[in-house]
């Protein structure tokens, strides 16, 4: 166990270092982009005086290095700073958006992960027969079509024609959980379609790989039912690659859903980030970038740890 703790500590330290590098990259990126926050705020209606006044107020006249370090100093004390454009506390405004994003990702994951694994198991059970081929065809087709197209088709039929679910999924605090779930039913469905194929294919491939082993043959010869063999003997041994893919897809559900958020007008982190990038609101972009990076690094770390725990051989590297 102490080995595991050591590993954990190593991973976390490495993760923090990565986050630090990410913050430098994001800062440099936003500096390189043309135009500054004052120009973006005032847009076409910027006059030189208004620009100068705004720049001075926002502290944009300080050299970039100084701005970066004062931001970093604040961050180390747990202060994300205030938004340049709205003047609001960043932690507070991100909190709500992050909550919305996690809410959507959570419900999409609750549906898509078990569904993908179940479909993967079924595909193995009936491999090379019509259920396998049907599942593969449908999931591969849904991952090959751009997500916004699936979304628009869903909006047209489900919202406009049938009026079963809303196309604008702006949730707010006044809604009950049931209302919220009804509101986001379309984006959940579309996201499920988008992430399903990847996880399902990996489950199928990993289990098929294990199915070649001698102990599966033994189980077969003992007369166990095919599904029992897959579920009890093959699946636990193929968990590592599956968890890796599941985690990647979970990360996607959190950080990669900008397009879905825009199409369904969902008030999550994606739209929030895009708005602030286009306004060059560096502190907010930094905070969003760090959160996204942390989600990625964190979920990948979980995947690694689960693989190691699930596979005793990895616990004792040579």
């Amino acid at each position: 166990m102490s080995l595991l703790l050591k590993l954990l500590a190593q991973r976390i330290a490495l993760g923090l270092l990565l986050l630090f590098l990410v913050s430098i990259l994001i800062f440099a990126g936003t500096i390189i982009l043309p135009g500054d926050v004052a120009q973006q705020i005032l847009g076409q209606s910027a006059t030189p005086e208004a620009l100068a006044n705004l720049r001075r107020d926002l502290g944009l006249n300080d050299p970039p290095l100084q701005r970066y370090f004062s931001w970093l100093g604040g961050l180390l004390q747990g202060d994300l700073g205030t938004s340049l454009t709205s003047g609001k506390d960043i932690a507070e405004s991100i909190g709500k958006r992050l909550g919305n994003t996690l809410f959507l990702a959570f419900w999409a994951a609750i549906i898509s992960v078990p569904l993908a694994i179940l479909l993967g198991l079924i595909a193995v059970r009936y491999r090379e027969r019509w259920p396998d081929k049907l599942i593969s065809a449908v999931t591969l087709a849904s991952i090959s079509v751009p997500e916004f197209l699936i979304a628009y088709v869903a909006i047209f039929f489900v919202s406009v024609r049938l009026r079963w679910a809303p196309s604008v999924t702006t949730i707010n605090d006044g809604m009950s959980l049931g209302e919220k779930l009804h509101t986001i039913s379309l984006p959940i469905s579309v996201l499920t379609l988008v992430v399903l194929a990847h996880m399902m294919r990996m489950t199928r491939a990993a289990i098929l790989n294990v199915m070649q082993s001698a102990y599966i043959e033994t189980a077969e010869l003992k007369g166990l039912r095919m599904f029992t063999i897959i579920w009890k003997h093959a699946f636990p041994n193929s968990i590592a690659p599956v968890v890796n893919v599941v985690m990647l897809n979970l990360a996607y559900l959190v950080v990669g859903v900008v397009v879905i958020e825009v199409v369904f007008t969902y008030p999550g982190m994606g739209q929030f980030l895009v708005d602030h990038v286009s306004k060059r609101d560096i502190p907010v972009v930094q905070a969003c970038g760090l959160i996204f990076a942390a989600v990625y690094i964190g979920l990948n770390m979980v995947a690694d740890i689960v693989s190691i725990v699930a596979n005793p051989r990895l616990r004792h590297p040579k």
């Binding site: 076409q44 209606s45 047209f156 919202s159 196309s167 707010n172 369904f264």
Partner: protein
């Protein structure tokens, strides 16, 4: 048409029978759904506004980064939002004239250098405080002061002094300006307690609604201000949703999630209008799409080349293919019939032979570089391609460079010598010319510098004789048309759409889209 139908439509307006039933019976009488809907709208209008209910509006343009401070308002969502809670001193009437809002009246001295606005008696802010002349004066001070970040700063440069006298606000100008009241209708110049100096983004004003929920770039809820002085504000609650994606906005209207939307894409407007229960309303305005060249930079400093380009553009084709008919042809002047003192000019037509002739005379060789981007106006890259084709017929080669949307307004527009862009227009000729064609204007995006034009502009500003003034503006329009770097192929209409659940739309309201941003306050829920 038919007594029975008239009777039925009145019954719906009174709430005696449902709309669905009406449409059914109208169908039985052999009336098409569209005609029945129009009729119903007429009846609903005739019955007058109904009070109460919730009106839901879907808007383009809002961003999480917006602020409620009217000084930094810069998109349609912000304008519609300001109309909820705040009011300027004066506002445009439907036909482009002026009416009092916070100010009940205004008058000028004989030379138009001193203007007096009288604050409406006994009106209060939504926090209960009475509105005074000092609040209005402080507002002008905030927007025009040296510390100002206001989008209206450019309009207010000529103000010398602002003082108060009882309920009067007295504005003294350096030079006479007959249009000053028009400037005061600008949506940035909202009267707030102490001019908004203490709490610029508190959303406290004299408007017909009070903001209840504010989630920037996402959703807003406003409720009727019980103490509002005026006669607009019919519904009890207004819910505003920011829906930036065009398809999502149209789908929200079609699926009944919102009652009214702005900016229906012209490409699909025809399809949207065919849906039952939806009306697409197109309003002509001063907004125009432009190709702008810097006439102080080679090769555009060559007047013959400029003329070649002006004759080499097919304006009607652009109106047909870029605006899909929702607009009108331009005439290389920023002024159209939406302006109060417009005079007609001879229409410049597409003439490849003349263009070729001017091109030859100019002695220019090689291609002309045009920069464009998607956000410079909707369909700009396509318009550039059309321009390229129409110039080709005249033997002129146009090279198109596609620029990223991001940073277009800071890096390309008003910076590079030839690009695509748009103007939203202004409420008066003086404002439009002063903003973009005066030699010293910050946004002189064609670098047009003409002493005689400037003199005429200043003189027209103080001219109180309407006929003389109109003649002066006609001359200026001609100068811009023939001498400046402006190639204006089209004026774009505002295209909005609403469902038959709401009534009270007024056609052709001057100003911005959605009835100058007052649709939510002036319309009402019918069923």
């Amino acid at each position: 048409m038919n007594e029975e139908l008239k009777f039925l439509s009145r019954q719906v307006a009174l709430g005696a029978i449902t709309r669905r039933k009406f449409l059914g019976r109208a169908g039985a009488l052999g009336v098409t759904a569209a005609a029945a809907n129009t009729m119903l709208a007429g009846a609903v209008h005739a019955e007058g506004p109904q009070k109460g209910g919730t009106l839901r509006i879907g808007l383009q343009g809002g961003s999480t980064t917006d602020s409620l401070d009217p000084a930094t308002a810069a998109n349609t969502t912000a304008v519609n939002l300001i109309r909820m809670w705040g009011e300027p001193l004066v506002e445009l009437t439907d036909d482009g004239g002026l009416q009092g809002k916070v100010a009940e009246s205004f008058e000028a001295s004989a030379d138009a250098t001193t203007w007096t606005f009288t604050i409406r008696k006994g009106i209060t802010f939504s926090n209960g405080q009475e509105v005074t002349a000092a609040d209005a004066a402080a507002m002008l001070d905030r927007h025009a002061g040296e510390e100002s970040k206001s989008g209206a700063l450019g309009l207010l440069r000529d103000i010398k002094n602002v003082s108060t006298n009882g309920r009067d606000v007295v504005i003294e100008l350096n030079n006479g300006n007959a249009d000053l009241p028009y400037l005061m209708s600008d949506y940035h110049l909202i009267v707030q307690p102490n001019g908004g100096k203490d709490a610029p983004d508190a959303a406290i004003g004299t408007g017909p609604y009070i903001m209840k929920e504010v989630d920037m770039g996402v959703r807003f809820v406003a409720e009727k201000n019980p103490n509002y002085w005026g006669d607009i504000g019919h519904v009890e609650t207004i819910e505003m949703l920011v829906i930036n994606d065009n398809t999502a906005r149209v789908a929200a209207l079609q699926s009944g999630q919102v009652d009214i939307i702005d900016r229906v894409p012209p490409r699909t407007a025809g399809l949207v209008a065919r849906a039952p229960g939806i009306t697409v309303a197109s309003t002509a305005g001063p907004g125009h799409y432009v190709f702008i060249a810097h006439v102080n930079t080679a090769p555009f400093d060559n007047p013959d080349l400029m003329m070649a380009l002006k004759y080499g553009i097919n304006r009607q084709e652009m109106v047909d293919k870029i605006l899909f008919g929702y607009g009108s042809v331009g005439n290389d002047s920023p002024i159209n019939a939406a302006y109060p003192m417009y005079s007609e000019m001879e229409q410049r037509e597409y003439d490849p032979e003349k263009a070729a002739e001017y091109f030859k005379k100019s002695g220019h060789e090689g291609p002309v570089l045009l920069r464009t981007s998607d956000n410079s106006f909707p369909g700009a890259p396509d318009a550039a391609a059309l321009f390229q084709q129409s110039l080709k017929a005249a033997g002129i080669e146009l090279e198109i460079k596609r620029e990223p949307n991001d940073g277009y307004w800071s890096e390309v527009w008003n910076n590079k010598p030839f690009c695509t862009s748009y103007w939203g227009g202004r409420s008066t000729q003086d404002q439009m010319f002063t903003t973009a064609y005066l030699s010293t204007a910050d946004w002189n995006d064609t670098r047009y510098k003409s002493e005689s034009f400037d003199k005429l502009l200043i003189a027209a500003r103080a001219e109180l004789d309407q006929d003389k003034r109109k003649a002066m503006y006609a001359d200026m329009g001609m100068m811009v048309r023939n001498e400046s770097g402006l190639i204006c192929p089209m004026f774009n209409d505002f295209v909005d759409a609403y469902t038959d659940k709401i009534g009270g739309w007024v056609e052709g309201v001057a100003g911005f889209s959605l009835m100058n941003g007052y649709a939510a306050q002036r319309m009402w829920v019918t069923g």
